[in-house]
Assembly symmetry: C2
Homo-oligomer: 352 residues x 2
């Protein structure tokens, strides 16, 4: 029954049964359509889509996921969402997953190992088709993550945990550190490395090692300034550590390479407070470089010279590998611990 003035407001569709009846197609075929529109005949598809416009029905997610063997959702877990770097890479990943026909669920561990495990436990209940995981790193419960990866197809990115997960996508810290150190040495004094004493992130360790290697190759003695701090508030850590390092004259040269941009932002604030002019011009007392090309690095004073991580590529490749992994899970083929590292690019600004 249709009332004048009600437009398309026909009967309310409550479930797939009713929708199938209204569209003149059997329910199993409609179900097939929703699982893969291309799996039904063109004429059938058109009839369903015509009905779809009239009734705007959408299948019940819970009922779908309860019965499907393969849930059409992928989980995304990042270590610290309040860091715009992770917010942006998560967003890029989300886009790609949705474009591939998956739902997405974004979780942040907020720097807490317990929360990381809780996130994985909760994810497991959702029976996701796959998971993209950027672990906390050192603080992560390796065993728990290993168990999780045994159950769920998982691709790790950003922070590597050796031999965990089906693949790892990240940056080549060796290449990027060599790049920036080489640049700094060519244009001025060799850099000191400014880093946390017990870094949460394994990248920091690789950067440390890469720094030692490149300095040795260039024939300079390594100068490392390690600062305290064990949470994810890197700006605050860099600021406090920077103040101390400046006061105690711990920087052996006038050039500092920070283990990451957020630390550098803190150091810039400390240098400003101490009246040290940062940059490479006349009258500058300090050169400061970072790593990552953080979204805010363009807007520091002075703008931060750094090495970019190609996070668009990291995101794209991570999703690509996960999807193929999900597919091979269905077909039964086996893939193993693939590692993909992308090169960083020098981003020259004013700070060094």
């Amino acid at each position: 029954m249709s009332f004048p003035g009600e437009g398309m407001a026909e009967q309310k569709i409550r479930n797939m049964e009713e929708f199938a009846a209204a569209s003149g197609i059997s329910r199993p075929t409609v179900s097939k359509y929703f699982n893969d529109p291309a799996s039904v005949r063109r004429t059938t598809r058109e009839r369903i889509e015509a009905a779809l416009e009239r009734f705007d029905y959408r299948p019940n997610i819970y009922a779908m996921n309860q019965n499907r063997r393969l849930t059409k959702t992928v989980g995304i877990v990042v270590p610290y969402l309040a860091d715009p770097f992770f917010a942006e890479i998560a967003r890029t990943i989300e886009r790609l997953c949705i474009a591939a026909g998956y739902r997405t669920i974004l979780l942040s561990s907020h720097g807490e190992p317990a929360l990381e495990i809780e996130n994985l436990d909760n994810l497991r209940l959702l029976r996701p088709a796959g998971v993209l995981l950027a672990p906390l790193g050192r603080a992560s419960d390796r065993t728990a993550i290993e168990r999780f990866c045994a159950d769920v197809p998982a691709v790790l990115f950003d922070s590597r945990i050796d031999d965990v997960g089906e693949a790892f996508i990240g940056s080549d810290n060796g290449q990027s550190i060599a790049l920036i150190v080489d640049y700094l040495c060519r244009t001025g004094e060799p850099p000191c490395l400014f880093e946390m004493k017990t870094p949460a992130n394994p990248n920091a360790r690789k950067r440390h090692a890469a720094y030692l290697a490149i300095m040795e190759r260039l024939g300079h003695p390594p100068q490392i300034v390690q600062i305290d701090g064990h949470d994810w508030e890197f700006e605050a850590i860099g600021y406090r550590g920077g103040l101390q390092a400046i006061e105690r004259r711990r920087f052996a040269t006038d050039t500092v390479l920070c283990s990451n941009d957020r630390l550098a932002i803190g150091l810039l604030a400390a240098a400003y407070e101490k009246g040290l002019r940062v940059g490479r011009g006349h009258g500058c007392a300090l050169r400061v470089a970072g790593h990552d090309d953080h979204p805010f690095a363009r807007f520091t004073c002075p703008p931060l010279t750094t090495v970019s991580q190609d996070y668009a590529a990291i995101a794209a490749r991570s999703v690509e590998i996960l999807l193929s992994l999900i597919d091979s899970e269905r077909t039964g083929s086996i893939s193993s611990g693939k590692v993909v590292l992308f090169d960083g690019k020098l981003v020259m600004r004013q700070s060094a």
Copy 2:
């Protein structure tokens, strides 16, 4: 059958039926327990929890949500997650919801109105118990949000849309702008207002109005510098607009009040590039103040003087109201458009 050395590895529990049998309790009672552990007798609860330790069973979320009238999840929608301000307030909200026994699902509209609607559509499918929504503002599809709020208990925060949602929690822009303008006038020249021409956020309009009001009351002519930009990359907008404004000498006084901190961060970068020393000391050409006490405002050069939003209070109150709303939804009582505004506090740093 129990194998030596296997420890607790007893039979695998597949569903609540099996778990109930293993724990010696009937399934309906176990179901009651999972819906509210306090609803069963203490001795029963202890028996269930003992079994829980042996088998680590957890009910199937999809089956639960399919049959429950009230899903134990709340949705959180923020306009732009790459802004640490929203990331942190979202986290605070998450904590509170989880503590209250709810699952949480975090979505970001990423500055795109279409995505905001999509988020709400997807949320609706999840039949959440309630939603905490920080809308995009001007760009939001008011009708769509209204429809959503008619179906789902929703509390709006941060950005108000008049007469939409059951409640709104935010900051008192009138109070906070008066506070900072008054401070700036007492300590130097009266401020110009630095804002976007067509701000995405309704708070910006209220701050504009509040600026006019307080300047009038203090007997100063208002000076407004409006800049172009219509996305959420406020730092970039503030930077470009700041460069132009400085070049064309559009600031009538030496003091600038930015509509928000991210704009201020951009302006600081522009001032630095133009060689304008920012601060309130001798030799400073410009005073810059912001609004919000953004997580990064402490680390700008110079550190940014601003007005803090009490986002802990905003988060707490939003959740509190939503939960009572959900509860009254069950009991049938009716509440109406409550509005709660929190005062800002002056955060004096070095930039003004």
